[in-house]
């Protein structure tokens, strides 16, 4: 234990987050003076790279932003371009898009729960050490991830950076017969997903509440995944086209990623808000399909969840939801007459949102009449969450100043992992530093 009243802690090369980052904490005279999540992003490379490219290219190009959530990028891009061009997917094509996205949720959440987050709760430095003592558990995680990847491979052509997605739908739609083995694998994965909820619900969670405005999509009658309008816990509701009227991105000195701020009547002047599993669940728990809703109740989740440490339970419930949804979509599937609807370029601006595993992902494209991209805007979930994460960490550290530097650094890293920050998406290559002066 330290009794120093002034100190600086730095965590460089945050472990077990997607990408790289750093956290800096300054403690002066026994009080937390500053907390920064430092993110170094070469400025918006992808947005600049898209200018002048054909309107059909963003789904393939933006999928490369992230190896964990390429379908989110493809979907938000497709939706924005289809919006600009006046096209809309319906029936089986819309269902296939949701099914593909379910695959990404299953794979991404299984990766985060088992490989990145659970070792924190069980006291292991990482997945390798956890696997040595909990082999069956890790095998279960890999089987779930494999089920998610199987959906991505069948519908997307491959599990990383899928190649079968196009503006207007797909290059090729599967037959019912092709989906049958997938359904068998998913039926086998469902009990594993339910076991996962029970397993993580038994972890010890610190008491901690995030008070921020929560922002998620709403999709009447069902849990939001691949589409929806934007809603917040304070009652804001707006369409994707109004996103930039409500979400303002700003430069901050310590980060090359932009920080987002939510504006609107009655909102906290700080503009802090949180998107991702906690927001999604809190705003949509009533729309979970039956098995997922039952699993959530059994795990002790009420209609709201505002403890970031318990987000691991929400992710587990969302795996159940995604498998349940995938099985329903496969059961109801009838191959479409054509694998994609025609999309014709026109001079227009389009907007698209979807629920990436880490939260709302917004795309906006301005398209010239010749079909080339005039401008692009991408707002990933992690850059939206940075202010809220920093504020949560400030309060988290303030309650743990009696920890020595090593223990406090470890606790902060775990706290950051609660948000599953995809620094690869928001930025690239982020480092934790705590100053006690």
């Amino acid at each position: 234990m330290t009794h120093r009243r002034d100190r600086t802690l730095v965590a460089r090369g945050l472990a077990r987050v997607e990408g790289e980052g750093a956290m800096y904490v300054l403690v002066t005279d026994g009080r937390v003076a500053e907390v920064r999540l430092d993110i170094y992003e070469p400025p918006r490379f992808f947005e600049a790279f898209l200018r002048g490219r054909a309107f059909t290219e963003p789904p393939d190009i933006t999928a490369r932003v992230c190896g964990i959530c390429p379908v989110a990028y493809q979907t938000s891009a497709c939706r924005a371009i289809e919006d600009a061009c006046g096209a809309e997917l319906d029936g089986p094509l819309a269902d296939l898009r949701r099914l593909l996205y379910c695959g990404e949720w299953i794979g991404s959440h299984a990766l985060h729960i088992y490989m990145l987050h659970a070792p924190d709760f069980l006291g292991y430095p990482g997945i390798v050490e956890m696997a040595a003592e909990h082999r069956e558990v890790v095998e279960r995680g890999l089987a779930l991830r494999s089920a998610g990847n199987a959906i991505m491979e069948l519908l997307g052509g491959r599990s990383i950076h899928p190649v079968n997605v196009r503006v207007g739908g797909f290059y090729r739609a599967p037959s019912r017969g092709e989906l049958a083995p997938l359904a068998r694998q998913l039926r086998g994965a469902l009990p594993l997903a339910l076991d996962t909820v029970r397993w993580v619900a038994g972890f010890d969670f610190p008491d901690f509440t995030c008070p921020h405005e929560l922002l998620a999509l709403a999709d009447p009658g069902r849990y939001p995944i691949e589409r929806g309008t934007v809603a917040t816990s304070g009652g804001l509701a707006f369409a994707a086209a109004e996103f930039e009227q409500h979400v303002v991105e700003e430069q901050v000195p310590h980060s090359t990623a932009l920080h987002a701020r939510l504006t609107g009547n009655g909102l906290d002047a700080s503009g802090r808000y949180l998107t991702g599993p906690l927001a999604r669940y809190t705003l949509n728990s009533g729309s979970l399909p039956p098995l997922a809703a039952h699993a959530a109740a059994e795990a002790g989740l009420g209609p709201e969840c505002r403890n970031p440490f318990r987000s691991i339970i929400v992710r587990a419930v969302e795996i159940v939801c995604a498998i349940e949804e995938a099985l329903r979509l496969i059961e109801d599937y009838r191959p479409p007459a054509r694998p994609a609807v025609a999309v014709t370029a026109r001079a227009a601006t389009g907007y698209g949102v979807s629920e990436a595993p880490r939260g709302v992902l917004y795309h906006r494209y301005e398209i010239h009449a010749d079909g080339t991209i005039a401008s692009a805007r991408i707002v990933p979930p992690t850059s939206q969450n940075q202010r809220a994460i920093e504020d949560d960490l400030r309060r988290f550290v303030a309650d743990r100043l009696d920890f020595d530097d090593e223990r406090l650094t470890g606790a902060c890293e775990q706290a950051i992992r609660n948000y599953d920050p995809c620094i690869s998406c928001a930025t690239h290559f982020l480092d934790l530093r705590i100053d006690r002066r």
């Binding site: 997607e18 790289e20 490369r64 932003v65 990766l111 696997a131 890790v138 095998e139 890999l142 991830r145």
Partner: protein, 161 residues
């Protein structure tokens, strides 16, 4: 990914990297060169180095060859390294992967779960630039064919072994 019949699979070549992160694309570039040259029974794969994907790609095979860009300090862009783990029982030392969860995690997890290949060969090239952008730096681009040839040699020597 090129996938031969499961029964005759004997090796996998995994190019690890992201084509929009400059020299990180070295692994995929080598796989592209190998696309029409690999012997029968060899699977070609490109992925992001995430351990679960790596294990899935190499589990149960006699041979896995991983091609990856690495960071080194000080770096000599284009310098090549070859590491061999027979019946891998130790982690991968030396240069580290350019990815968050690295090859050492994949090897550690593969060992813990008994899902390692019989032999693991890692071809690593020191990167000059891992920033945002497409295209290899000249120093790394210049060794892609050399790397591909080295992978083919490993595949042939395994077949004749």
């Amino acid at each position: 990914m090129t996938v031969p019949q499961a029964s005759c699979r004997r090796a996998v070549v995994i190019g690890v990297g992201n084509e929009f992160r400059r020299d990180d694309a070295a692994g995929p570039a080598v796989v592209a060169v190998l696309a029409r040259q690999v012997p029968a029974g060899v699977t070609l794969a490109v992925n992001d180095g995430e351990p679960a994907r790596m294990i899935e790609a190499w589990a149960g095979l006699p041979l896995a060859i991983v091609v990856d860009a690495v960071r080194a300090e000080p770096a000599v862009p284009g310098r090549l390294h070859r590491l061999v783990l027979d019946h891998p029982a130790i982690g991968v030392g030396g240069p580290v992967s350019s990815h968050g969860l690295g090859l050492d995690d994949a090897v550690g997890l593969g060992r813990a779960l008994d899902r390692m290949p019989g032999r693991l060969i890692v071809h690593a090239v020191e990167a000059g630039d891992l920033g945002q952008g497409a295209g290899l730096t000249p120093a790394v681009a210049a060794v892609i064919d050399t790397l591909a040839a080295a992978v083919l040699r490993d595949l042939r020597s395994q077949r004749s072994a």
